[in-house]
């Protein structure tokens, strides 16, 4: 059997490696148009930032190592320019020589990945406007950055002004680039079309990260986009924003998303899915029974949402590829779904999510409930922890977990992984109550944040707690008695306009004379004290009580 693989990085190299292990006698050819295979795309920003100083560490395998250990015929600089499904062959162009040849296959794997989007703006092709997808892109950015830093520090044109970089798009890669450029000493401006950074997160969770980014000196322009790039006399670029702001830049990074590489597939008449990725079945087989596909170019079912989705992430690419290889080699393995678990480090903070966001659930018309809590990453009395923002989305009837997001400092990745696991296994918020997680003071709490989120969510489902949401303010409190149950000192510093202060410790006494039929809306700092207050009032006959999900903490990130 002869297996040909188009693309030689996360998806392609993984198909080839797994196929070899399953079939020692197959002929396996990997065709990669770029100069490298098996490199760590995800590490590229960190080499630019010199956090990963040794460039060679990013090259996980080479054509030679793949030949030696796995007997794979890897051809770099070899672009597949046509696919003839009838003849079962591909046409390959050797980029160095220009030579073209035809390579036949018994089974083909398409793993061409995705290309960064380059919006058709004036000046988009100017030197100095970069995308970041591969080693060559990285080398180009780093070379320009190094030169600019050198020039600023010691060149003849030394001006004392720092190197200025503009990052277009505040998704994960944009934010990583902002951090790494800043780390090198550049002055960084980030431009994002949406009204928030990190669009895969809901806004209550992204705003704390946004503030952290600003606090580290990164300039943010939200709700606007680049309109044009132009060369400045004397060097450098000017970026014109739609908001009519002009930002000077020595370097521009476009990180405005990626588009699946489906050129070969469409030209050959393979079916695409509704979102424009290559359509595959749960065996990662395309509409042609001799062709499989994996990685950023494909659509897969979503774990929580209906329909198929493009999820350009390395974990799915690697696991899809492994499944594709198994089926290519005659096994019967299913790739069930992708849930979009993702994470990013942003200076000292960490943020990420898994499953559906509230926005997606709303867009898809799926009923859900939400809770927001702010537990600390580990026991508060043990040094080195901080509050995190943890949001849970779950089904109203069954309590099935639909999505989770978190932002904070320590222990965020762990909670995301646990919640991702529960979503993957179809678990509910009641399962979260029962999870037995590893506890010692440096690592968690006897009631872990995940347990705690489960308690709160279960209380909501059982009707032991009724929440109101910052998103619904001010409508949610109109015509109600708004009670702040924090201490007078806390109230003094900040409170929601119109609130009365009735500290929790005095509530039992104070509420004796109140009208029990009048609606009461409660809040405190994070929701714990107002929960206690809720239980007190409801059990004393108050008819209409609700407490603010996530307290003033979530509220302020939403409204300030």
């Amino acid at each position: 059997m002869k297996i040909v693989v188009v693309g030689g990085v996360a998806g392609g190299a993984s198909v080839a490696a797994r196929a070899r292990r399953l079939d020692e006698s197959a002929e396996i050819v990997v065709l990669e148009k770029g100069g490298h295979v098996s490199f760590a795309n995800c590490g590229l920003p960190y080499h630019i930032g010199e956090v990963i100083s040794d460039r060679s560490r990013l090259l996980l395998q080479t054509p030679e190592s793949l030949r030696e250990t796995l007997d794979i015929d890897v051809r770099v600089g070899s672009e597949v320019i046509a696919l003839d499904r009838g003849a079962k062959s591909v046409t390959v162009r050797e980029l160095a020589s220009g030579r073209e040849y035809v390579e036949s296959y018994d089974r083909l794997a398409l793993c061409p990945g995705a290309d960064p989007i380059r919006p058709p703006l004036p000046g988009i092709d100017l030197p100095g406007v970069h995308v970041l997808r591969n080693i060559a892109d990285m080398d180009a950015i780093k070379a320009q950055l190094d030169a600019a830093l050198d020039a600023a520090a010691s060149g003849p044109a030394r001006t004392g002004t720092p190197v200025r970089a503009v990052v277009i798009g505040a998704g994960y890669i944009g934010v990583e680039m902002a951090e790494n450029l800043q780390h090198r000493g550049a002055s960084v401006t980030v431009v994002e079309m949406a009204d928030q950074i990190l669009p895969p997160l809901d806004k209550e969770v992204s705003v704390p990260v946004e503030q952290h980014l600003r606090s580290r000196g990164v300039h943010l322009h939200l709700s606007t986009a680049a309109a044009a790039f132009s060369q400045r006399p004397g060097g450098g670029l000017t970026v014109e924003l739609q908001s009519n702001v002009f930002v000077d830049a020595d370097l521009v990074i476009l990180s405005a998303g990626v588009r699946p590489n489906v050129g070969l597939a469409t030209a050959a008449g393979l079916e695409l899915g509704p979102r424009g990725g290559i359509r595959v079945d749960t065996h990662m087989r395309t509409s042609d029974p001799s062709i499989w596909a994996a990685g950023d170019a494909v659509e897969t079912p979503h774990t929580v949402l209906p329909g198929s989705w493009i999820t350009p992430l390395a974990g799915p690419a690697n696991r899809e590829a492994r499944v594709a290889a198994e089926n290519i080699c005659g096994r019967d393995t299913e790739y069930r779904s992708t849930q979009g678990t993702s994470i990013v480090k942003v200076f000292d903070m960490v943020a990420g999510g898994t499953g559906a966001t509230e926005r997606q659930l709303r867009d898809e018309g799926i009923e859900y409930r939400a809770v927001h809590i702010h537990p600390s990453g580990h026991a508060g009395y043990y040094p080195g922890t901080a509050q995190m923002h943890l949001k849970l989305l779950f089904a109203p009837g069954s309590g099935r977990l639909l999505g989770a997001q978190a932002a904070g400092f320590d222990g965020v990745d762990k909670r995301l992984d646990v919640l991702a696991t529960v979503i993957r296994l179809g678990g509910t918020v009641h399962d979260l109550e029962q999870l037995e997680l590893a506890y010692a003071p440096p690592f968690g709490s006897a009631k872990d944040p995940v347990n705690m989120a489960g308690f709160v969510a279960s209380n909501v489902l059982q009707g032991d707690l009724v929440l109101w949401y910052a998103t619904d303010w001010p409508a949610a409190v109109e015509g109600t008695r708004l009670i702040d149950v924090r201490t007078p000192e806390e109230f003094e510093i900040w409170h929601i306009p119109g609130a009365e202060n009735v500290p929790l410790a005095t509530l039992r006494e104070a509420s004796r004379g109140w009208d029990r039929s009048a609606p009461v809306r409660l809040y405190c700092a994070v929701g714990f004290r107002s929960y206690l207050a809720y239980r007190i009032l409801v059990q004393r006959g108050f008819a209409d009580v609700a407490t603010l999900s996530g307290g003033s903490n979530t509220f302020r990130y939403r409204h300030e």
Copy 2:
């Protein structure tokens, strides 16, 4: 309704707090013989170590705060000395005054915890021989340590010799105490009866931690126990070990395990379980329908093993208590099981486990398979990571996950929690293959260690990989051809006696002439290269091949 709770810490305070939230009108009395309620037992070693410098941070709640926010009647210094189930009352002794009185209950919760074991050895009651369970114990140890350190540094008897501490028992608390005492500058000796530290872990996983402990200057005596304590002329103690070694000590910490506090329960005729803890049903109700129990004093079903077990850990205590409170308040909530998820920080290392150990599975006669892998905590090319030791135990047929253990530096707690979650939800090693965990270079790998463990385990179940185990050496390699597939340089430095070196890159060629019917046993550093070698040989017709689980890495920790 009147609810009386015996014990006011993890279990007792949690019962009371949850009961109040469910029943605003109940009378709730907490009786605690010690001077404090709601303190952080788990933080005690770290205050001695001055990692947690502010003692008051350990007092999470006080009688006053529980009164104010939860309207709970908390009485410290109040020991329950008798239980009259017929009369539904307890007899309370106020320790300060000696006054005794009877307190009636409608529903009683027993949360008396456990007491540290004090083996009846000569000299066990000498001053300077301590246990650590509560704030008073902590204060006593810290006072003595502070005084000894002061004296050594500046007192008239200043000798230049450091303060010497002996810790008896190398379980989690013992190891934490060793670290914290060392951190204060004491010279620490740990004595452990078993032939390994951290008995809840299998030996391959505990030995790396043992070596780390020794590398940090802690002296270890394994396979021996304290035989006697005696006062030294001029101050201090001498600890005599069963091995006839004598160790001088200014301070001795007994951390040889705990025994459930069942005195009250047995005197009142409540049933005990087979392991000597209070017997409860899945509603945490004892054999008396008006009495519930939770925490270190009870036995609960094990998630994986048959029978009921005592698991003296804070997470279970807190969640058992919450379930008990719900049932006390008339709800119908089940506490399903405890799986013994536990973790400990040991200087820079972290180790822990969840579910059953190999020892337990063997003892219970449960069939299992095991794999050992050594992935890095996050992407190897991103700084700050190290190899961990990860061991998985699973059922041969279904692949159900039965247990997992890990030791390493970064990301150990996260993988334990993910694996604990899978065990709790009844997942299999095939589920591990599919988990979609949060990946960016600082946090993991595109194929997370947990995925990787799932791959290897699934390969074993599917017959794609046959393992041999370090535990079975040398028998496992007798009469076989033992091949080391690492590089000559690696072979040179160390190899298993009797091994031939055939580097992976040369294996296809070299094996052409070999006898395919002769048994071959392979190994490499961690098991990856020998897995590739296994696939090559088996598919080339070799009849009897197996590769060493965990490679030389696991082997050397087992045999050196």
